[in-house]
């Protein structure tokens, strides 16, 4: 039915179109409803598929109208039971025409019933389904609740997981930081090993580890100095690094001590760069350095001592250079060789120590002045080590000196040798003092030895001088020249002075030079002077005719001449000069008295000088005119003699100048005495008759200036000053030697004295 309705309009439309066609031809007929119906029916097209389908269905329903099919159809479909009842062909069609509706309705009902049944089933199923769904829903709800719950709880977990993740990140960061920190603030296994293990030799690796440890401590200290103050880690790092560092230093110390013991035994030393660096580092640990250095010092002491003893006793290979002891009989060479050896050793030692402490040599040479005031601690160490190293040498040095040298010197009893040795020692003492310092053991030992050597020398010259004092002059020897004892003594003195002169370095000032020799001069010259004077005075007593005064002057002048070649004797010469002056004064007085006596004026002059005023001179015994006349006669005789220009006594003086001077002084006095006599005679109070005649009877006729002329002297009274000056100049020109000059100066003084008298 439903399928027919849509077809209807179309068929209608078709009908309409055909109607419109027929309209043209059949206009009248079309108005009739039947015809319309008919045409409509006729016009119906059953050819449509729907119709055919419907028919086919219908035919299927009444399957017997067709042949086999219809039979089969009911058999195949249990829903068509009535088909089976069909027996007559064609009957069915009829029946079908009759029963179509019923059949259809039956069919429909049947179909509906089936529908119902089926739907009932469906309904049941649906009910079950619903139950299931409800159950499912409950479950789902449960599940959802469960899920919500789970969700709730997992949220916490998630949160925690997130936290944990963050924490982990944090931890990671911390770890990185800590790793970095550890890398920066701790030592690696290798470094630790380098620092502490004995298997790792000291070298660059070790030094790097040390540096790192130092750096860590430095960084750590900086960190801890911050506002936060010291942290535990910081303290721990400091503690552990300090342990490691100490281990490192211990290792260095062990290395150094070992190395020092090893290399210290060589006579020549060389410093490896590693060694130098270890020392450089040890300087931060003074106590360890001290320990290492004392190990070095011990070894060096022993080594130097044994090499010194070898040099002393064994010499070089196959005896060259020969052992120093071989020359022990020659004390100069022996002492010189020993000290030169020591000096050379010091130089090598010094070089070694300088390179050990990394001091660049200052280009200074050994022996030149070293400045000890510089407070550099290396310098201090070097000084101490040097002192210790060479200090041990003092023992054999001292022994060698005291046993060998002193024996030799004493046995030879040679003042010169002992003095030379003392000077040599003094030279080395100065050298060593400048090289290893004033307080070094070697310096003090050398000082002792030097003092001993000087003592030996002084003792020997003292003994020499004492032998001099035991000498007694031969009373029967008339000679006035210095005796052999003095000559020999002077020879020794001269040699000693030469040694002293040559020991001077040229750097001393005058005082130093003088001070260095005064003691010798005191010991050697003073006893000689005393001996001369004492002995001559004794001899004079025994032999009054022996001219002791001249002898003494000769001896003194000789001693002075011996001294005069050396400048450092000025002081002693001045002392002797003083004695000479005294002696000259004595001799001058004595001589002028003698001259006065020889000239016959002595008594007259004495009387003139001492007479009392109330008694006139002409009444006194020695000055009565007759006596005076005789005296003047004698004077006149004397004036024509040789003695006026030359005194036989004074000619024994070895210094000619002194002779002249003394004699002249005597003549001056004589002239003055004569003048005084003349004046006295001329005085009316003395009541001489014809005083002028009396004086004029004999030469020089009472004329004093004539007397001056005879003596060949200037008139002192009138031209005293100018003549003095003139004489001085002349004398200066004539001076050949100093002592004469000085003698001259003093004779001038004596002139003065004689003038006063």
């Amino acid at each position: 039915m439903a399928s027919l309705s849509p077809r209807t309009p179309s068929s209608i439309a078709r009908t309409n179109s055909s109607q419109s066609e027929r309209k043209a031809s059949w206009t009248a007929q079309s108005r009739n409803p039947v015809s319309q119906r008919l045409s409509k029916v006729l016009g119906t097209n059953f050819d449509s598929e729907d119709t055919r389908q419907a028919l086919r269905t219908l035919s299927e329903l009444y399957a017997t109208t067709s042949k086999g099919k219809e039979v089969q159809a009911p058999t195949s479909g249990p829903t068509q039971p009535m088909v089976l009842t069909e027996t007559v062909p064609g009957e069915l069609a009829a029946r079908a025409r009759k029963n179509l509706r019923r059949d259809m309705e039956l069919q429909l009902a049947e179909g509906s019933r089936k529908f119902l049944q089926a739907l009932g089933e469906v309904d049941t199923k649906l009910g079950a389904l619903q139950t299931h769904v409800a159950a499912m829903r409950t479950s789902c709800d449960e599940a959802e609740t469960q899920l919500a719950l789970t969700n709730e709880s997992s949220k916490l977990l998630l949160e925690r997981a997130g936290n944990l993740r963050d924490e982990r990140q944090e931890v990671e960061d911390k770890k990185t930081i800590i790793t970095l920190f550890l890398a920066r603030f701790t030592l690696t296994e290798l470094e630790l090993q380098a620092l502490t293990s004995r298997d790792v030799p000291i070298g660059q690796r070790f030094f790097d580890a040390m540096d790192k440890t130092e750096r860590i401590r430095e960084d750590c200290r900086v960190l801890m100095a911050g506002e936060d103050g010291s942290t535990k880690a910081g303290l721990e790092i400091m503690a552990s690094t300090s342990t490691h560092l100490e281990d490192g230093y211990e290792k260095i110390l062990r290395y150094c001590s070992n190395e020092f013991r090893k290399v210290g035994r060589d006579s020549q030393l060389e410093v490896s760069p590693v060694m130098k660096q270890t020392i450089q580092r040890l300087r931060k640990r003074p106590e360890l350095l001290t320990e290492a250095l004392s190990a070095l010092s011990e070894t060096r002491q022993a080594t130097l001592l044994s090499s010194f003893i070898a040099a002393l006793t064994r010499g070089g290979p196959s005896g060259y250079p020969r052992p120093i002891e071989l020359h022990a009989h020659d004390p100069m060479r022996y002492v010189g060789d020993m000290l030169a050896w020591v000096h050379q050793t010091i130089a090598a030692e010094r070089e070694f120590l300088e390179s050990l402490f990394g001091i660049k040599s200052d280009g200074r040479m050994v022996g030149s002045v070293r400045n000890f005031s510089s407070k550099a601690e290396e310098e201090e160490w070097i000084r101490e080590l040097m002192d210790l190293a060479v200090g041990k040498l003092c023992v054999p040095l001292k022994a060698g000196f005291s046993v060998r040298v002193q024996q030799t010197v004493r046995s030879q009893e040679s003042n010169i040798v002992s003095y030379k040795i003392a000077n040599l020692l003094q030279f080395y003492l100065m050298t060593m003092r400048r090289t290893i310092g004033e307080d070094a053991l070697l310096s003090t030992t050398l000082k002792e030895i030097t003092d001993v050597a000087y003592k030996v020398f002084y003792d020997s010259i003292e003994a020499q001088s004492q032998t001099l004092s035991r000498i007694r002059f031969d009373l029967d020897d008339p000679s006035l020249t210095p005796p052999n004892a003095i000559l020999d003594h002077s020879q020794i003195l001269r040699e000693v002075m030469q040694v002293y002169q040559s020991s001077l370095l040229g750097t001393e000032d005058e005082d130093e030079i003088n001070a260095g020799f005064n003691q010798v001069l005191d010991i050697m010259v003073d006893p000689a002077v005393q001996m001369c004077i004492a002995n001559s005075e004794e001899k004079m007593k025994a032999r009054p005719r022996w001219d002791g005064q001249v002898f003494i002057l000769n001896c003194l002048c000789y001693l002075q001449s011996v001294l005069s070649t050396f400048e450092f004797t000025t002081q002693k010469r001045a002392e002797i000069q003083k004695t000479i002056d005294q002696r000259i004064a004595l001799l001058t007085t004595e001589h002028s008295d003698n001259v006065l006596r020889d000239a016959g004026l002595w008594e007259v002059a004495e009387t003139c000088k001492h007479h009392e005023t109330d008694e006139p001179l002409s009444r006194l015994p020695s000055t009565q005119p007759a006596d005076l006349q005789r005296a003047l006669q004698r004077f006149s005789m004397w004036l024509s003699g040789l003695d006026v220009v030359h005194s036989p006594r004074l000619s024994h003086l070895t210094v000619q100048k002194m002779h002249t001077q003394i004699h002249q002084d005597a003549l001056v006095r004589l002239a003055k005495e004569y003048k005084m006599i003349c004046e006295e005679v001329k005085k009316p109070a003395n009541r001489y008759e014809a005083a002028a005649t009396l004086l004029g009877s004999e030469r020089p006729f009472g004329q004093v200036h004539l007397l001056w002329q005879i003596f060949g002297l200037e008139d002192k009274e009138e031209e005293e000053e100018s003549s003095d000056e003139g004489e001085d100049e002349d004398e200066d020109e004539e001076e050949d030697t100093e002592e004469e000059g000085e003698g001259e100066g003093d004779s001038e003084e004596s002139e003065g004295e004689s003038e006063e008298s």
């Binding site: 760069p273 010499g315 290979p317 010189g336 070089e351 050994v366 022996g367 040599l424 020991s503």
Partner: protein, 245 residues
């Protein structure tokens, strides 16, 4: 050029060395021993030099071929009064630099005495180099080069003239002596192992000895000879037929 080579090598100051040699510098007073030495060690002329007092010490490391040699130099006073002191320093010297002044004939005529002293007192293998100092003062020359050269040949010592003022040939005598000593060691006449020879091994040489059983100077001899020849051309003062080179 050869001289320049020398100086470049020689000025190199080194810590370690193969050999240590002891030298003495001797000769009359005023011949310029200290100045020569000063120029050698400081590379400059020493103005206002005073007389040396006793003995003074200095040292320097030189390079000869492949060998580094440390020289311990003992500068002695020439004055007669220090003779007793300085003579003690001859002991065990390996080399002696005998200096005279070409402008002072006396300093030349006295050489015999100095040489005799050195030969008796120093080690028997002493190598002596005669140096005519003050070669810059040609105008005042009193000792002819030929005469000194003859004397040197007669006495079997090396000879050259030098000037401590200009620095000419200042290093050569020290190097000549060092070379002669090394050759003596090589030929076996000198044994550095023994004390008192004036020579001893340094650290470097010892290491080498330890590492190889035999100590060889092959390289040294070759280069030394070459160098020696070069110097000869320049210096003109080598004695033909002398032992060294």
């Amino acid at each position: 050029m050869a001289i320049n080579d020398y100086e470049a090598d020689a000025t190199e100051l080194l810590e370690t060395y193969d050999f240590l040699m002891k030298y003495i510098v001797i000769g009359e007073a005023g011949t310029g021993k200290s100045c020569l030495l000063h120029h050698f060690t400081h590379n400059s002329f020493k103005d206002h030099s005073q007389h040396t007092i006793g003995v003074e010490f200095s040292s320097r490391t030189v390079k000869l071929g492949e060998k580094r040699i440390k020289l311990q130099l003992w500068d002695t006073a020439g004055q007669e009064r220090f003779r007793s002191v300085t003579r003690s320093y001859y002991r065990g010297a390996a080399g002696a630099i005998l200096v005279y002044d070409i402008t002072n004939r006396d300093s030349f005529t006295n050489l015999g005495r100095w040489l005799a002293d050195a030969r008796t007192l120093a080690s028997p293998n002493l190598v002596v180099v005669l140096v005519g100092n003050k070669s810059d003062r040609e105008d005042d020359r009193e000792v002819e080069w030929a005469e000194a050269s003859r004397w040197a040949a007669e006495n079997d010592v090396h000879f050259l003239e030098a000037s401590s003022l200009t620095g000419e040939n200042v290093e050569a005598p020290f190097l000549m002596a060092a070379r002669a000593i090394l050759l003596a060691i090589e030929s076996g006449t000198l044994d550095p192992e023994k004390a008192g020879s004036g020579v001893s091994y340094g650290d470097r040489a010892l290491r080498r000895v330890n590492s190889s059983s035999r100590l060889s100077f092959g390289s040294l001899s070759g280069s030394a000879r070459r160098r020696g020849g070069a110097v000869k051309l320049k210096v003109k003062s080598w004695i033909p037929g002398s032992k060294c080179c």
